[in-house]
Amino acid sequence: MSATLLQVRGLTTSFRAEAGRFEAIKDVSFDLGEGDVLGIVGESGSGKSVTALSILGLIPDPPGRITAGQVLFAGDDLLKASRRRMRQVRGGEIAMIFQEPMSSLNPVFTVGDQIVETIRHHERIGVRAARARAIDLLDRVGIAIPAQRLDEYPHQLSGGMRQRAMIAIALSCNPSILLADEPTTALDVTIQAQILDLLKDLREDFRTAVVLITHDLGVVAQYVDRVLVMYAGRVVEEAPVEALYASPQHPYTEGLLKSMPSIDTDADRLQAIPGTVPSPFELPPGCRFRPRCPYARDACDVADPPLLDAGPGHAAACIRLNDYQPAARAGAA
């Protein structure tokens, strides 16, 4: 692995709801190196987006609050950084793109406006130069006739073009990290591939590290180096992509892979994971996956297992690993 850019340690974010406070993500940790592509997978509600938003301090407060952890980036803990510093980081050093290109661009400003303002916020540069760079960026993300598109409004662009424009905004200040939150979910399959290929190229050209959040394991297999699997707000498995597909260690990962169609297996033998993701208010006492787990045993009720070593760069939160003996802890939420 190359030089570490970002270290996330024990990140925990909770939300206030009518029924009380709940933890949307708990104890999330990972490292991101220069030029890495890290995939975060999980069902909706597993805490993928909250993780990304927490890193940039974009969790709306109230109702959300980051209650524990560290986000170490370029020598700072971003959770303790000043507002000023955070504004430099956001969009400048760590950029983010979102799931809905439709609603993520401001409908009442032109695409050019929205790129130029980002550039000019982060760098001392004239409007003219910023516009030139914006045209260049649009061209680079594959938008035809960029000079004309620059003065168009988001609703005049197709979904794929909007996402390209979002990427252009994200790349406008050469960030070292790009957080991509389900960037292709809202798009057609063909456009999906184009956007993902674009991200891949960009990573090669700029050495930008990418965190790709997705629920699509097919995407993961194709574009990602390392994977975090999240379930009900926790990381349940972390592995290099080949290891994950070859020998998934957590039963949830196993279930996810089994539910994925592939050319090798018979399509009519796809298996769905039984049950549903528990509500954050009704988490089981021990392992969160216990109620849906085919390997569940009594010891699973004792405590939520930590990530256990399962090979080089591979870890999973399952007590079947290394004959782990859970010890009951008091006050485990």
């Binding site: 974009l58 956001r90 969009g91 609603s103 993520s104 401001n106 009442v108 916020h121």
Partner: protein, 316 residues
């Protein structure tokens, strides 16, 4: 854009036609013999007959209707019984007075309504928010004529800061104009201010939850740009659409407020016309005001298109 304006214009025409029909019909609503009502109970049969003649009430209904439209197309709305002058003339000469006060009130409404609404939204669920919203709610519930009277008692009678009535033309003496119109403008604006503050607040809260606001923050823009640029322009869109309604409410209030403050505008003209049953003035005044508002709404639509690029291009 031009196509859009033309389409709106075409839509206004049938509405204007019905508006004029409603104005015409008002006269038909007068129970019994309108001529007697107009001439007064003590009038001699001769006088009643003269009024009947003057109003064209001898003619059959369709002739009355036709001549109403015939005159309308020539810009003739009839003659005021009371003043003996054409309705158009007496209305138009008083219009600047009413409009100047309405504009003043509109400015007050927009400035205070929008600013307070935004402040409340940004301080959601704090005491500031609650104070602003309580004030807005009370503003919406205060009868404007009563508020006008209270303002007169407090600021004119007791404190003596401002005159209790009358009007000075702006071109003659801007300062005197401002002194004379401040209390009426406040009485007029209070309701709309409350209304607008409430609308602005809820729109702002809605906008602040949008994805593009999150994008703006993710780009590292400072909060004043996120709110002042990205949110504000989106908030302005629905706010602009209510300007027509606000103006309509302002003109509604002018009858009472101009009467209370003895201001020689269209409102007080209508007020006295009502008491003296000067029907041509009532009909004509209503028609003029409604037409003005329709045209204003047209203007608002165009402004709306300017603010919301989605409308602008859908129209092409």
């Amino acid at each position: 854009m031009i196509a859009y304006v033309i389409r709106r214009l075409l839509y206004v025409i049938p509405v204007l036609f019905i508006v004029s029909l409603i104005s015409f019909s008002l006269m038909q609503l007068v129970p019994g013999d309108p001529a007697v009502v107009v001439a007064g109970l003590s009038a001699t049969p001769d006088e009643v007959e003269r009024v009947r003649e003057q109003l064209g009430l001898n003619e059959p209904f369709y002739i009355q209707l036709l001549s109403w439209y015939g005159n309308l197309l020539q810009g003739d709305l009839g003659t005021s019984f009371l003043l003996g002058r054409p309705v158009v003339e007496v209305t138009v000469e008083r219009l600047p007075v009413s409009l100047s006060i309405a504009l003043y009130a509109l400015v007050l409404t927009l400035v205070f309504g929008i600013v307070l609404g935004i402040i409340a939204a940004l301080r959601q669920n704090t005491w500031v928010d609650q104070a602003v919203m309580t004030a807005a709610l009370i503003g919406v519930s205060l009868p404007n004529f009563w508020l006008g009277l209270i303002l007169i008692v407090v600021f004119a009678v007791h404190l003596g800061w401002l005159p209790s009535g009358g009007y000075v033309d702006f071109r003659e003496d801007p300062w005197a104009w401002l002194r004379a119109t401040t209390l009426p403008a406040i009485s007029l604006a209070m309701l709309q201010m409350g209304l607008l503050a409430r609308i602005t607040r809820s729109t702002m809260l809605e906008v602040l939850r949008q994805d593009y606001i999150r994008t703006a923050r993710a780009k590292g823009l400072p909060e004043h740009v996120v709110v002042g640029k990205h949110a504000l322009k989106n908030v302005m869109i629905p706010v602009i659409t209510v300007i027509g309604i606000i103006f309509s409410l302002l003109l509604s209030g002018s009858v009472v407020i101009e009467t209370i403050f003895s201001i020689p505008g269209v409102g007080s003209l209508l007020g006295s016309a009502i008491l003296r049953r000067d029907y041509p003035v009532i009909q004509g005044g209503l028609l003029l005001v409604a037409t003005m508002l329709l045209l204003l709404n047209l203007l608002v639509d165009v402004l709306y298109a300017y603010f919301d690029p989605r409308v602008r291009y859908d129209g092409d």
